[in-house]
Amino acid sequence: MKAFEYASPTSLREAVELLAEAPERTELLAGGTDLLALMKDGVRAPDRVVSVKAVPELQGIEYGAEDGLRVGGAVTLTDFAGHPEVRERYPAAAWAAAHAAGPQIRNLGTVGGNLAQRPRCWYFRLGYGLLPRRNGESMVRAGDNRYHAILGNDGDALFVTPSTVVPILIALGGRATLAGPGGEREVALADFYRIPEAEGEREHDLGPGEIVTGLRLPPPSEGLRTASYEVRPGKSLDWSLATAAVALRMEGDTVSEATVVLGQVAPKPWRAEAAEGALAGERFTGETAGKAAEAAVEGAEPLSMNRYKVQLARVAVRRALERAAGEEG
């Protein structure tokens, strides 16, 4: 591993300064569950590593009736999933966090790290880059793409988003709080992710020297029903092949508003607007759920080896909807 400078600031201001000096050669260390492996494998070789574990502004979980939930970026997934307010008011988010990876990862991995985690694409992990090309063609298109994108894949970015927690956070109207050299700002998670078009571009909206300081979720509204569904082949540590998160605002048995977000199917968390349209204003039935599931994969363009993921995405949406509808309150 390349030698690097290690800093452990004790304030947010200090952390931002340490990061902002040379952002492209600096990495943030929170739980370290992924960064350390990337560094050992030589995929990332920063000159400086800035630990945010001792930054007080990144700690804590608070809930207020007005502002909703605020979670520090360095809070572990275990603490987030087990927090009484999270479990009571955002059960689907608590469920997703409680099922992410395995217990060891959840005990170290953080909410901020989950929002900003890097893709699991095996070409990326082997050091070929996020948009790998060889001899003028995409290595992913020509190679083994069984786990890659079926949506949003018309460019060179064919990896999929790794997080199984982010889709439900988006469905809940979550926002990321950020701090950087230009001060603090907030961005809706739905707008935080972007599909890189060239090697070197990041898969999210963090500017140079910016840190994810936390997560905010609005207070859950009356009649909101939420759920996530993950297609996870192994019961032990295994990745979801497709995740769907839904939030339905119900008036009686009619859906007044729906949010449907997919994970692991596109280079960014995939908002299935056609599915949302198929649900809004409709009475919730198995048939509506089926139509929404069908709409969710409209326009999917499978690669050479991942046709099956279209079906998985469809099923995940339908089952998430059924799970949400079955949920009380």
């Binding site: 020509a142 083994d144 082949p233 099923v315």
Partner: protein
């Protein structure tokens, strides 16, 4: 004259005995090769070629030699050399720390000319080279097919998988002058010095290999390998001990490889289920060496059959023996094709397989009994349904079964045994315990023979300084060490009884060793406690050596075994859950029921793992293995194995055969049994292992994949 045989009445053999090494393993006290840390020890690291096929155009070792902490550097390839598989070793070096060693590797100047590669063995028509191998014809296949009421044709395939030892391959090598000691993660303690001696050109008598505990071998750790030889050379060059264990990506890419197999099979069957003809062609690869020829058709030697195999070399490191080499492939292909034939007839596979048992030779009666017991344990008759009638909901249930066989005669083994005047019993064998219970079995044989408890005897193994035993491969260890130990123990006991007899005023032939005493069999009141008896030896211990092979019929070869699986398949996601699995297994005389069952459990779990999860994903673009860690090279976890039941065959017909090894048999059938259960659940054959969501959904979507039936009204089963 001692008559070497297993006792008719057994006090310990065949009971449930906890493994002796359990406590040190679960407490972490057991020292594996990975744990060895010698004074002044250096760490080895390896420069590996990232290309599947390339020529080295520049190699500059100077930056590595000058790197901080580096004590020795050795290139095993030179400029101009051609590399034939990705992650092949180019340079070995040793440095003060692991980090320094890796940094020095990164500093090496190396350039390659990348050459064309081929890694997709299934596409044999695109292979630069394919080697037609054995072709077997028996009887008249054409006439057999002409007689068939139905004829099925199927395609089946399973990929290359890795051994994926939890403890990667590796060694710690230390020289004392011209004498070398290696702590090696090996299945061949007694055979390693000889192999190293040849490569290092030193006398084998100057090399000692130690392996007390091993974190998995599965057939991949018989050789010191190039990394073992080079670790010894680095240690010699540096004048300090060197530890060199493989990184996980190398362990997966170059140190573990079960060949793939693909096959087209035609089966002809009569209305009553009798197979009238078999024709198959198979191909596969384990890498540059191609692949061995799976014994197809497996278990069933149909009178009218034809089989041909083609070995396809690929730019991948060579194949290694993986538990029951060639059998899991042959089993999956054969049992799947037969199950499809049964389904074409609408016949319960239990009846179908039973109907054809006459073609299984001398194991016929054992198979029949095993199928009967398995069916009972599984509730087969109540739970089986015709193919595809596994329910209307998304989750469908299904049952499948499979048969397997293995040889497993005891290997060569010497046991040096001492009975000390203080009562101590000490056996030394240059054998190794792969985690299978070898230590425990040796102790059981000693305790049984001397009328002691397993805690009263000392078993020393895992050191080449002890008398040689064979490598642990092919399920030969228990047969070998049990027999050598039994012979030694019977000899030692005869000698002891000779010394003790005058003190009990009896003839030695009247004495027995029971319950910690030496006593007159006909008059147990005339007895001496064990330690008083051994005290009669004076100052000299009894020292004997027992051999295998040797006099007396103490072991045998040739076992059967059947397995049945019950699965639930989510037809919408393609996820297969293993609900239950029943194994019925014979292995001659069971030495320790607990470790025997444990072996079968282990085999089933490993089998479930390759049936549902494992695959070496070879990248057509780079020729590299893409899943190089435990995250992407998937294996079964605790939650994935379901409920496992084992029935060991014991009693008449088994016990008198003596012990037969058990390492291979239980790992052979799971792929076939699970695949057949999935076909039963879904009504469609998923033609590939592992049975992943992708394979299931592709099979469901493309109903033409898999099996076609000729001469059957209504199309595919």
């Amino acid at each position: 004259m001692v008559e070497y045989r297993w006792p008719d009445e057994k006090r310990i053999i065949g009971r449930r005995i906890d493994r002796l090494d359990g406590p040190v393993k679960v407490t972490g006290a057991a020292e594996y090769t990975f744990d060895v840390r010698r004074p002044g020890m250096l760490y080895g690291a390896v420069l590996r070629c990232p290309h599947a096929h390339a020529r080295i155009t520049r190699l500059d070792l100077e930056p590595a030699r000058k790197a901080p902490g580096v004590k020795a550097v050795r290139a095993v390839h030179q400029e101009g050399d051609e590399i034939q598989w990705a992650l092949d070793e180019v340079v070995f070096l040793a440095a003060e720390t692991e980090e320094a060693a890796r940094d020095a590797v990164a500093a090496i100047g190396v350039e390659y000319e990348v050459l064309a590669h081929f890694v997709e063995a299934e596409a044999k028509d695109r292979a630069p080279e394919a080697k037609p191998g054995e072709e077997t014809t028996e009887g008249d296949p054409e006439a057999g097919f002409a007689r068939a009421a139905k004829r099925t044709k199927g395609y089946y395939g399973l990929p290359t998988i890795a051994h994926q030892c939890l403890e990667a391959h590796g060694n710690v090598c230390e020289w004392d002058g011209d004498r070398l000691t290696t702590w090696s993660s090996t299945q061949a303690v007694s055979a390693l010095p000889g192999q190293l001696a040849e490569a290092l050109e030193v006398p084998a008598s100057d090399i000692r290999t130690i392996c007390q505990y091993i974190g998995g071998g599965f057939g991949s750790k018989f050789s010191p390998d190039r990394w073992g030889v080079e670790a010894a050379r680095l240690a010699k060059d540096a004048g300090r001990p060197v530890k060199l264990m493989l990184e996980r990506d190398a362990e997966l890419t170059v140190a573990g490889d079960r060949p793939s197999a693909y096959a087209e099979v035609e089966v002809g069957v009569a209305e009553d289920g009798a197979v009238t003809a078999w024709r198959s062609s198979s191909w596969g690869s384990g890498g540059l060496s191609g692949s061995g020829s799976p014994p197809i058709p497996y278990v069933f030697q149909f009178p009218n059959r034809h089989h041909a195999h083609t070995s396809v070399p690929t730019h991948v490191a060579g194949a290694r023996a993986w538990r029951a080499p060639n059998h899991p492939q042959a089993c999956f292909i054969t049992m799947s094709a037969l199950d499809d034939a049964a389904a074409a007839l609408g016949m319960d596979p239990l009846d179908f397989f039973d109907k054809n048992l006459e073609h299984t030779g001398r194991l016929e009666a054992i198979y029949r009994e095993e199928l009967r017991i398995g069916a009972e344990r599984m509730g087969w008759r109540e739970r089986w349904h015709p193919r595809g009638e596994g329910g209307q909901g998304p989750v469908r249930r299904g049952l499948g079964l499979s048969l397997h066989t293995w040889g497993g005669r005891g290997h060569r083994s010497s046991c040096e045994l001492k009975v000390h005047p203080d009562g101590g019993v000490e056996a030394k064998l240059g054998s190794q315990d792969l985690g299978t219970g070898t230590r425990t079995v040796i102790a059981i044989v000693l305790a049984e023979t001397f009328g002691l408890g397993v805690g009263d005897v000392t078993v020393r193994i895992g050191d080449s300084a002890y008398p040689p035993s064979g490598p642990s491969g092919g399920s030969t260890t228990v047969g070998g060490v049990s027999a050598s130990t039994r012979r030694a123990a019977q000899d030692a006991l005869a000698e002891l009884l000779g010394k003790v007899a005058p003190h009990l005023e009896a003839d030695p032939s009247e004495l027995e060793a029971v319950d910690g005493t030496i006593r007159v069999a006909a008059d147990p009141s005339r007895s001496l406690p064990w330690k008083e008896a051994t005290a009669k030896l004076g100052v000299s211990p009894i020292t004997v050596t027992g051999q295998n092979p040797g006099p007396g019929e103490l072991n045998d070869s040739g076992v059967g075994g059947i397995q049945m699986a019950e699965v639930s398949v989510d037809a919408e996601t393609g996820i297969v859950r293993l609900d239950r699995m029943v194994a019925v297994q014979d292995c001659g005389l069971v030495m320790d029921l607990e470790t025997a069952e444990s072996q079968v459990h282990g085999g089933m779990i490993m089998g479930i793992s390759y049936a549902l999860y494992e695959e070496k994903v070879m990248d057509p673009v780079t020729g590299r293995l893409l899943n190089t860690d435990f995250e992407s090279y998937k294996i079964a976890g605790y939650g994935d194995v379901g409920q496992l039941e084992v029935h060991m065959m014991t009693g008449e017909g088994h016990d008198e055969r003596g012990p037969i090894g058990l390492g291979e048999p239980p790992v052979i059938s799971p792929g076939a049994a699970i695949s057949n259960a999935v076909a039963n659940a879904l009504g469609v054959r998923v033609p590939y292992l592992p049975i992943t969501p992708r394979r299931v959904l592709d099979a469901l979507e493309d109903a033409t994949t898999g099996v076609t039936v000729i001469g059957l009204e209504g199309g595919a089963p």
